[in-house]
Symmetry: C2
Subunit: 383 residues, 2 copies
């Protein structure tokens, strides 16, 4: 018997660390290194480089110079950083690259950046913690209104699989050029939900992350169009199609998942273009949602599109507020290029006497703010 | 009303191509470009570089030199390539980087590489085609035997959500250092299943992709250990724990999904370490699986571990083959470092008179072969 089991000379479990590196091609370099004092050290081996820089949201995208140390390794240590999820890139002789030592990289529209997380404070909501985890699914549904099968991401809360309970549903929409992956990558939606549910701050809920580009079946790379580069310039964007077809999504969710299919158990929110969508969908179907969130919303007249979605805003908002949504929540950063448009929209709501809650942060049109808004909005739902 | 909707000066839908680039930071360069004659052109803008090379499985990892063209763009065009999913990296003055123009990159253990796909032939099984798509979920389950909650990937076939049908289950295991993501990324499991089911070559089935590292709750980055670099050198690998705990997985699946919970409707297969696991799990629990697949399996004596899983192989195989599994399928490449060990194992099966099917390919211990084996194995199941 043993004879039959001649061990191969290079047995898998006997690989040395050196052989492992050769086999998998990864240099033994730690980058980024999260230091105990909350500074972060970036490292790169680039023998031929004349200059190496690092830039990201940790340094407002200014380029910091790495210096070659005695071992020939390029290195840079940041100031102390506040708890946050950060993204960054290296620049080697001006060529933008990802950090070869950091396998954690996420795509945002058409750019891939590396990420790291400084724990503590609110950033602990963005980390995977030792708590029960929900299920995250990529699901295809039929949209007869758009005439296509489309892909969505669905978060079901811990325990969903082996219970008979019904749950409320939160529809969470992405920004322009984004897709059904966006809230799961830089948005950290599943981590935020897991953590808020575990601490009792949020009710267990289903979160539905659709694809808001009406011309697109699914995220780039996930359709029969192949591995083509993503583009922000998609046709049929903010011209009424997505809003018109939204009941297809709600119908699919209510017929597929154990939901409470009523207004009191439905929320909708979105960032940027998704905030625009949340505004128009919630007023177009005022009987659907009791909770509405506009995160850095693109407040923008679109009557020029000819879509009936954008006509009679006055009348539709009146009906929406007559039905008294339990929460109409507007959030924006004080440096957002959409700040003025949001202020004007709030003035209009004020003039009409429509109640809403306003939440202002610093900074602009960035993921840091959208993670904050998500983690502020979710605890207010379905209470 | 219109007054309230003052458009922001930089309106989202009005961004020019140039502004989009600036905002999202992506240069307008096509790389890789798939040419009509099935050659592929790689391009890189690297003004400071002295040498730029490209290497991948399309050129057996030899480094091909890109040349600077008249526009200052580094460029290289391959020979005609056969249909296949390929991965590659650039080397700029010896620094290994990903292609900044290609956002499609996958992690294999601790290495991130870019991918592209030349369509045609078998490679069409690896592409997302215009066919019904199954759902892919990341699900956490309880493993009392290992004393932890663990993560798996689950593929449910098209139509699963809105039917009452029961389905057979195929357990698909990864190799050393891999995790529950491996078969979904370079393995193209969901595309292969979608396409084979759509063409009628495979029965609709549930595919369960567990994490085979008994010390690991989930893929790197998906646990409370944080965004630490992945490692191949994990404790509790191939020492009996995973095999011992496997009934926890089957129990969870049969209690959570609409399965046919019997031997005739269960298959198990794995690559490399996963083939080793499939061998031992299928003989340890001979009443569970009617279909067994060993893909480039690590045939390796492990009695030294002291685990009862690896004792009495003779007796356990005898019981397994007495129960007459409908398919015992062994596949390997003729240049695989495990080729001899697999030949010896087959000789032993021959000597005992245990029936099996053998499938040999060219090449070695590589993903190209594992995709082939998966697409050959699946059509033989549950018929």
């Amino acid at each position: 018997m043993r004879k039959a089991f001649v061990a191969a000379t290079l047995v898998l479990a006997g690989l040395t660390a050196g052989a492992q590196q050769a086999l998998w091609g990864v240099p033994q370099l730690i980058s980024p290194e999260l230091n105990p004092d909350t500074t972060v050290t970036f490292r790169l081996i680039a023998p031929g480089a004349r200059t190496v820089q690092v830039a990201g949201d940790f340094n407002s995208s200014s380029q910091a110079n790495l210096k070659r140390n005695a071992d020939g390794v390029w290195e840079y240590t940041t100031q102390k950083l506040a708890p946050e999820l950060y993204s960054y890139s290296f620049f080697v002789d001006s060529l933008r690259i990802n950090d070869p030592s950091n396998v954690y990289a996420v795509r945002d529209v058409a750019t891939v950046s590396n990420i790291f997380l400084i724990p503590g404070g609110r950033a602990d909501l963005y980390a995977v913690n030792d708590v029960p985890h929900g299920t995250v699914s990529r699901v295809w549904y039929d949209s007869p209104t758009l005439g296509m099968k489309r892909r969505m991401s669905v978060y079901t809360p811990p325990g969903y699989e082996n219970s008979t309970e019904r749950y409320p549903v939160f529809y969470l929409l992405h920004g322009m050029g984004g897709d059904e992956e966006a809230w799961l990558t830089l948005g950290r939606a599943s981590q935020i939900l897991d953590n808020l549910i575990a601490s009792g701050q949020a009710k267990p809920m289903i979160v539905v992350m659709t694809n808001g580009n009406a011309s697109q079946e699914a995220a780039p790379g996930e359709t029969h169009y192949g591995l083509k580069p993503p583009t922000i310039a998609l046709p049929r964007t903010m011209e009424g199609s997505f809003e018109t077809a939204f009941p297809d999504v709600v119908k699919f969710i209510d017929s597929t998942y154990r939901t409470h299919p009523d207004k009191a158990h439905r929320a909708i929110a979105g960032l940027s273009m998704g905030g625009f969508h949340a505004l128009h969908i919630s007023k177009e179907y005022p009987e659907l949602f009791d909770y509405v969130g506009l995160f850095s919303a693109a407040i923008k007249p679109r009557e020029d599109t000819g879509s009936p979605i954008y006509t009679d805003l006055d009348g539709k908002l009146r009906r929406q507020f007559e039905l008294e949504p339990r929460l109409y929540w507007i959030a924006i950063g004080d440096k957002d290029f959409l700040y003025e448009a949001n202020r004007d929209y709030r003035k209009m709501l004020d003039a009409k006497g429509y109640p809403y809650t306003y939440y202002e942060t610093s900074d602009g049109h960035i993921w840091k703010n959208w993670r904050i808004y998500l983690s502020e909005f979710v605890p207010q739902l379905f209470k």
